[in-house]
Point group: C2
Chain length 335, copies 2
């Protein structure tokens, strides 16, 4: 780096104050795909004027990245969104505050955002749907699409016991809930193979990044563990935010030996028929991994006095406080 | 802006050389949605364990933006991708060069990227598909999904007369074609209402930006004109890159009076049964709009000596040369 540029960056980053008020200095940004395979079909279109035969590429994973100028001492962080959502989850919050994508950048981390396979900018496969419309297959061969309703999401995301009743002390900005509902997209995951094609994408991406922290959320919680089972190459650590599932505690712990793992849950979990058992299972996994030479930790936020967090930790009012906890953990364990 | 920061930015942007080698100074970035409406259904899921009843939000348009520090004398530019693609179209090219999203930023423009309604991060509507799977509707009520095959795209995008034969002098980097194929996603546009819900999103976005240049590509070519028909509020200019359709030349030209419009086509158009008639119609529209007090122009690149451009002007090898032409036009006509 030349000297004027260096001085310049020192000037830009030296003064204290709210980070959001200072310009971001980005060394590089862009997007690419990992994974993908070609399939052939005669059912690519059902509009008579459009071509229906040929080859398309599916199962690839879209990746967008930004690398800050000050990134040299921080590992790249890869954010993997959850059910029915896209990488938008990590960007500007529903009430207009800075997302984790920008906050981690401002803290010096290269940031990688993916859209899960078959969702967002990662192409879904239209063939099974078109085959039914063309009369070449029965309706029960249609893929299982799922969109989370506002009313159901209210309970799933632990905004409250029943829609539209909030929990007392809830940190999610429910006055901006309509902006969250716009983030929800149809999810094809129930019809995708196991492991989800996203997992192969994470394995490829990790090898390419040569040491990334994989940060999952909810549905994607198991994916980084499955990626580590396939290969530990390039996986520096795993942070599982409110995972829908942890690896089975009585399973093989060898893939996680020596791997820093942090599992995080928010508030109102014990009373939730959906999340209570998941936390219990993850607690058992963390104990088993740790016993087998792992470096796994469980963080239940209310247990350290941080209360009111919903399932959407990255969008709650105290989202930057949670981010700081993750950053401290990364610096302490994964550098 | 404080003095150290100002000096700093002068240092960063003053020296000549390839723009990609210097850091980007971003004043603000983030994402939000425009548009959207709530619909209720009993068919939001077909997996028995998942909730199928309630409200979802559809027709919203995802918008991502970046504003450079040096933006004060440049209008915001809104890029609207074409058929079967997403905003990825405008980012890093298939062969890894800088996309227009970053190039326009480096030239001082605030850049807004959208995913069309029902595509990418803008939620599609799963209800019609789930109704068929649930036996509540007939297969012919399925939406008309369309994915462009590699072989068909080769001709549609004018890489050559027939797959895999390229035109002589082609500017598209066909050695990287596999990375383009990964950009293609299923397109629901044939089943969406007219105008496409994206148009209402553009009207809302333009009013919010108070003077944006709407840059369309291909399928989306008609959308900015339809947005201008609804309201000229906030539309500073329209650039239509290889539009699939221009407004009818014998239609009402009043919505475009005094509006700077630039229609751009690449090479190999005359011999294309698909694109030849479209260019002819757009030429007639530009003449009609200009005669009616418009400021419309048509630019056919080979007519000014720029040869070999495919339908994907923003990904061709000379993409930054094309960008410079657009930037010169914006500065000349829309400031």
């Amino acid at each position: 780096m030349n000297r004027p540029l260096f001085l310049c960056l020192v000037l830009m980053f030296a003064s204290p104050g709210h980070a959001g008020e200072r310009p971001l200095a980005i060394a590089a940004q862009g997007s690419f795909f990992v994974g993908g395979r070609d399939v052939h079909s005669d059912h690519l279109a059902t509009v008579p004027t459009l071509n229906s035969k040929g080859t398309i590429t599916i199962d690839q994973v879209y990746v967008h990245y930004q690398i800050p100028v000050s990134a040299k001492r921080r590992p790249p962080v890869t954010f993997i969104h959850g059910c029915c959502l896209t990488a938008k989850s990590w960007e500007t919050t529903p009430d207009g505050r800075m997302g984790w994508d920008e906050y981690f950048l401002r803290k010096g981390f290269p940031v990688y955002l993916i859209d899960q396979a078959s969702r967002g900018r990662s192409a879904a496969n239209p063939i099974a749907i078109n085959e039914v419309r063309d009369g070449a297959a029965a309706p029960d061969s249609l893929p299982q699409l799922f969109s989370e309703a506002h009313e159901a999401a209210w309970v799933t995301f632990r905004f409250g016991p029943d829609y539209p009743q909030p929990f007392p002390g809830l940190q999610f900005p429910i006055e901006a809930q309509n902006e969250l509902w716009k983030q929800i997209v149809p999810d094809l995951a129930p019809s995708l193979p196991t492991p989800n094609p996203t997992v192969a994408g994470l394995t490829e991406l990790s090898a390419r990044l040569k040491g990334t922290v994989l940060v999952s959320h909810s549905q994607s919680g198991i994916y980084p563990f499955q990626a580590a089972q396939a290969s530990r190459d390039g996986i520096a650590a795993i942070i599982a935010l409110e995972p829908g599932a942890c690896p089975a505690p009585d399973g093989d712990m060898a893939p996680y030996a020596g791997l820093p793992v942090l599992v995080v849950y928010g508030d109102y979990v014990e009373g939730s028929p959906r999340w209570g058992p998941r936390l219990k299972n993850c607690r058992a996994f963390v104990e088993a991994a740790d016993k087998a030479g792992g470096k796994a930790e469980l963080l239940v936020l209310p247990e350290i006095g941080i209360k009111g967090n919903s399932h959407l930790l990255m969008q709650d009012r105290n989202s930057l406080q949670i981010a700081d906890i993750l950053i401290d953990w990364i610096v302490k364990t994964a550098l």
